[in-house]
């Protein structure tokens, strides 16, 4: 073989083989292409931008850019008094407002050291679990849409509407409730609430099963999610994952059971985990399965709360609220199991002011999303959409 020369550019070689066959070899350009996904892409569930370095259809690396929804929650929290922060927490994870309020109030109540009436505790748990179902319905519905299935979305939103009207009946708002207050509740539940809740549980039980079957027995859905975005358990813990994401990786961890708060120790419920028969532990399908099964567990919790909630004539849900909320000097890290994982509040009080010295929100989606760079390596672009959907981010909480 004899090299005759180089032409055009250095990547083209002209060589002669066997006397008279001239071979012109050209190296194809293999530069990586930068693909910017979002901030207005429907599959990013809000305003998240992913800067993907792609090699053909394969993602070499995806770097998330966030902050488009940053509203300075922590700065505002230092400017308003404790009860004034509660409405702000609603606006973080706007799909699970009750859970956010619950987590925040738990943290402040730890510093205040006040006794909460049992009826209030049961109502809190009930509305929080109801909100968890609503949140998982959105997660599952939009996940199905991301993967091209439209019907489950309509099913999910139909049932979510029932929950929202129940919560609206109790609190007066559909999504941003300001219902759980430090030391109590804004209002007691309406007179017939228990009956209507029981009706909802009876209605939703078969629907939850139906939804489970609709997606998880769908061949296309399984093919799109099984074995995609696998996260091993130890890496998931190291990344600080929590909630359904961590349980999807097979770690048996649920704050409602492992670091119990409120009346959860009295309630019986299972913590669903992927068994590895149907999905590969740690993949997108496992995370979806955990959410779908968790809804049924939440229904069980609500049923038990309905049975055990003490009925009191003329109950004042604001009776235990201190006149002036001024916690003792100290610091606390309070947390609760949100639909998206561990929502924690680190609060520092100086003991003199009615405003916190520092209020840091540990957002579950923010932490879960931080593993995106690792998860996306070597995935196809359509699988990237499946992975983001399975993380179930709410950008309001990621950016705060």
């Amino acid at each position: 073989m004899q090299e005759l020369g180089k032409a055009e550019s250095s990547t083209t070689r002209i060589t002669r083989q066997n006397d008279n066959v001239v071979v012109i070899e050209k190296d194809l350009d293999t530069e990586h292409m930068l693909l910017s996904m979002g901030p207005q892409h429907p599959s990013t569930h809000g305003v998240l931008r992913l800067e993907c370095m792609t090699d053909g259809e394969v993602v070499v690396q995806a770097e998330p850019y966030l902050g488009y929804l940053h509203r300075c929650f922590e700065k505002y929290a230092e400017k308003v008094d404790y009860p004034g922060i509660v409405p702000y927490t609603d606006r973080m994870d706007y799909l699970a407002g009750m859970n956010n309020e619950f987590a925040f109030c738990l943290a402040v109540e730890k510093l205040l050291e006040i006794e909460i009436p049992r009826r209030v505790e049961f109502i809190r748990v009930m509305v929080a679990e109801l909100n968890r179902i609503a949140s998982h319905l959105v997660a599952i519905g939009t996940y199905a849409i991301d993967l091209g299935a439209f019907t489950p979305f309509l099913f999910c939103f139909r049932d979510r509407e029932h929950i929202l009207s129940l919560l609206e009946w109790a609190s007066g708002a559909r999504m941003l409730y300001n219902y759980i207050w430090i030391g109590g509740l804004a209002y007691d539940v309406p007179a017939d609430f228990r009956k209507r809740m029981a009706e909802f549980v009876t209605y939703f039980k078969p629907k939850a099963r139906e939804l489970y079957r609709l997606l998880t027995e769908n061949e296309i859905f399984v093919q799109r999610t099984k074995g995609i975005g696998i996260m091993p358990a130890d890496v998931a813990i190291n990344f600080g994952w929590s909630g359904p994401m961590l349980r999807g990786s097979g770690v048996d961890w649920d704050l409602r059971r492992n670091d119990p708060y409120s009346v959860y120790p009295e309630l019986e419920f299972k913590v669903p985990l992927p068994d590895g028969k149907f999905s590969e532990v740690g993949d997108c399908l496992s995370r979806h399965l955990v959410r779908a099964l968790e809804m049924e567990e939440s229904l069980k919790i609500i049923e038990q709360c309905l049975d055990r909630m003490p009925e009191e004539q003329g109950f004042d849900s604001r009776a235990a609220i201190p006149k002036r909320i001024r916690p003792r000097a100290g610091e606390v890290y309070g947390r609760a199991e949100n639909p998206r994982g561990e929502l924690g509040f680190y609060i520092v009080s100086d003991g003199k002011s009615t405003k916190p010295l520092r209020c840091k929100a540990r957002s579950s989606c923010f932490v879960n999303l931080s593993a995106m760079k690792e998860l996306s390596k070597g995935q196809l672009i359509p699988d990237l959409v499946a992975i983001i959907g399975s993380i179930d981010i709410v950008l309001g909480e990621v950016d705060r």
Binding site: N238, Y333, E342, R358, D399, R400
Partner: protein, 166 residues
């Protein structure tokens, strides 16, 4: 003393035995027991020890919060650590640095989750995390001036010709 606090205390004793004066006394409050790293230069070593020692196994960093202490002219971080699913104990660790040009060693190599938490703390408070793989602002735009969560923060007048304070 409640059981959880006793566990934290026992974990602290193991760290104190190994590092001596590099860690401060244990603050045994019930809401958040913590200790402080007096010698910030040893923070990565302490973190690795806390993660890997079979008696400690702090495999999970729940939260890392930046802090501003204007009276002492200090900045700091507060890390809430936990042994998730192994030993079950929890403890918080505080590390401080000077307010002007201070730096804290990064533990992103110990717990992956610290990567974004430290970026957030840098974004909001302005302490530098030495050895961090990718220390950029995360929530604010990259060309933002000032560190918003410092107590003496003054918001900039304009940003790219847009009036900022309203």
């Amino acid at each position: 003393m409640p059981a959880a606090l006793q566990q934290s205390r026992a974990a602290y004793d193991v760290i104190k035995e190994r590092f001596g004066d590099a860690v401060s006394a244990f603050d045994a409050n019930e809401t958040m027991p913590f200790f402080e790293v007096a010698d910030a230069g040893k923070w990565v070593e302490i973190a690795l020890f806390m993660r890997d020692d079979p008696r400690l196994k702090f495999n999970y960093m729940a939260c890392l919060s930046g802090m501003d202490y204007p009276e002492q002219n200090m900045l700091g971080i507060v890390c809430n650590l936990e042994s998730l699913g192994v030993l079950g104990h929890r403890v918080a660790v505080k590390v401080r640095c000077s307010r002007d040009g201070g730096s804290i060693p990064s533990v992103a190599c110990v717990w992956h989750t610290a990567n974004w938490h430290e970026r957030e703390a840098y974004d909001m408070f302005g302490m530098v995390f030495t050895g961090h793989p990718d220390l950029r602002r995360i929530l604010c735009p990259e060309d933002w001036t000032g560190f918003p969560l410092r107590k003496d923060y003054q918001v900039q007048e304009t940003y790219h010709g847009i009036k900022v304070p309203y």
